[in-house]
């Protein structure tokens, strides 16, 4: 599903963010990405989401070399992914329904399909009936679940989550992790960046550990 082949990323002003990182994620696998802050977790996810390009090595998504993807094709690569952010990145002037529907509108689904899929996704994250509310009327945990619904509504092959529980209390964090577990169980590949070591251990999945840009565990 996802392969990092001797990948390095150097920022002109900040030096090496990633150094010679190699690993492979199989289809349907769930893994955690951990490390101290500044270890390169976010950079690694950004390479997959094509927000950055690597300086050396290759990133392969479903066998496609992301180095060779043209600017015009980037949106179509992103449509294969479900991205989840620590700060949720919701549109505050749109309803929950419109937020979750965005990827489907972009991909050109019919109103009927959009309505059906958005409801299914909201049902999955336990927010059915909240469609007409605005994000700020929801709690932090609920907002994150709207973000997750948006990430899965287009049935992505790979879910990338960057500190999805960073702003949530321990109880909600466990709930959100179990949600990811459910997606993995139906065949989606899941990669979660988190520094909540306790929670990660509790879950018992593969853990990729980054330290100063190098992969030091979980290869």
């Amino acid at each position: 599903m996802l392969t990092f082949d001797h990948v390095s990323k150097r920022y002109p002003d900040a030096g090496d963010a990633l150094l010679d990182v190699s690993f492979h994620l199989a289809r349907g696998e769930m893994a955690f990405l951990t490390g101290h802050s500044g270890a390169g977790k976010s950079t690694l996810l950004k390479l997959i989401a094509m927000m950055e390009k690597c300086s050396r090595g290759h990133v392969l998504l479903e066998g496609q070399n992301l180095n060779r993807v043209k600017e015009r094709q980037v949106p179509f690569i992103r449509r294969k992914l479900g991205l989840i952010f620590q700060d949720y990145k919701l549109l505050l002037d749109r309803t929950v329904f419109d937020n979750v529907a965005l990827p489907l509108v972009i991909s050109g689904y019919s109103q009927y399909d959009i309505s059906r899929r958005v409801r299914a996704a909201l049902d999955k994250v336990g927010l059915l009936g909240q469609e007409k509310k605005y994000p700020l009327a929801l709690s932090g945990g609920e907002q994150q679940r709207v973000g997750i619904a948006r990430a899965v509504v287009n049935k992505p092959r790979l879910i990338l989550a960057d500190e999805p529980t960073g702003n949530l209390d321990p109880e909600l964090s466990v709930e959100v992790m179990h949600l990811f577990e459910q997606f993995q169980q139906v065949g989606v590949t899941v990669l979660i960046a988190s520094h909540d070591i306790e929670l990660i251990k509790q879950m018992g999945y593969r853990v990729l550990t980054l330290s100063h840009g190098r992969l030091v565990g979980g290869q």
Binding site: R27, R79, K89, F183, G187
Partner: protein
Amino acid sequence: MADHSGRRQKISLQNKLYAYLMNHLQVLFASLGRLVRTPFTSLMTILVLAVTVSLAGSFYVLVKNVKQFSENLHTSNQISVFLKQSVSDKQGRQLARQIEQNSQITRVTVISKSQAMAEFKQYSGFGEALKALDKNPLPVVLEVLPETTLTDEGSLEKLMAELKRYPQVDFVQLDMLWIQRLQSILQLLERGVLLLNVLLGIAVIFITGNTIRLELQNRREEVLIAKLVGATHAFVQRPFVYTGFWLGFFSGCVAWVIITAIILFLQGPVEHLSQLYEGHFKILYLGFAETLALTGITTVLGILGAWVVLFYQLQQIKPR
């Protein structure tokens, strides 16, 4: 969740096209809604655009009216023959008959000394003062109307030289000459207006562009999020292009109102002036096709303004 295994449902082309059109329609009205929700800002922008456009439109209407006026004049290739002061009305009429023999001439009208005086009194406003003159200083004038086919300068000048050879003739004047001068001035004016309108059009592009740029800054976050979930350049720019569309369209409509108001305001005085000169000058408004063209052009300029800005600025908004 059964088909969540990575296989994605294919959307048929027909459904996709329908959804695409629906998206356009939805964005079209969403952009309109956005303008309506900030009425003050929108109105200010539209008014600035409309004033610019109405300036261009007014110049156009001005040229159009002057052109109409000069085209009415153009039909005459009349030659005025001023006879010597010593020539009497009777001698003048004799000469007129003589001249009429010429096959190139359709008709000769004699304006006697007293007729000329009466006309002069009526239009000059010197009525009372002229009474003080003990004798009529005005000459007899023959208004010679050549064949309508005779319009080129060369043959007219030849005819004028012929007329000049009569001993009774003082001097000969081609009325068309000043019309030709007027027309070359008009051509110059028309060029100038074209140039000015191009400049005003560019102004419209940049005013719209700047408005769109501000709008883009306000909605930066939205653009970033849309790009993160796989929006193409076309999708992201669509609402902004439609904002440009509406700004252009509305400014065209408001400009039409302004131009029409200007003509209405000037119509009374112009028609009064026309009556004073015995003219039947009818002021021209913007026609239906011209109104369509006006709003069409402003709409296109609005879209263009949006595009110019989006082309550069949208590339710079990238998720990091």
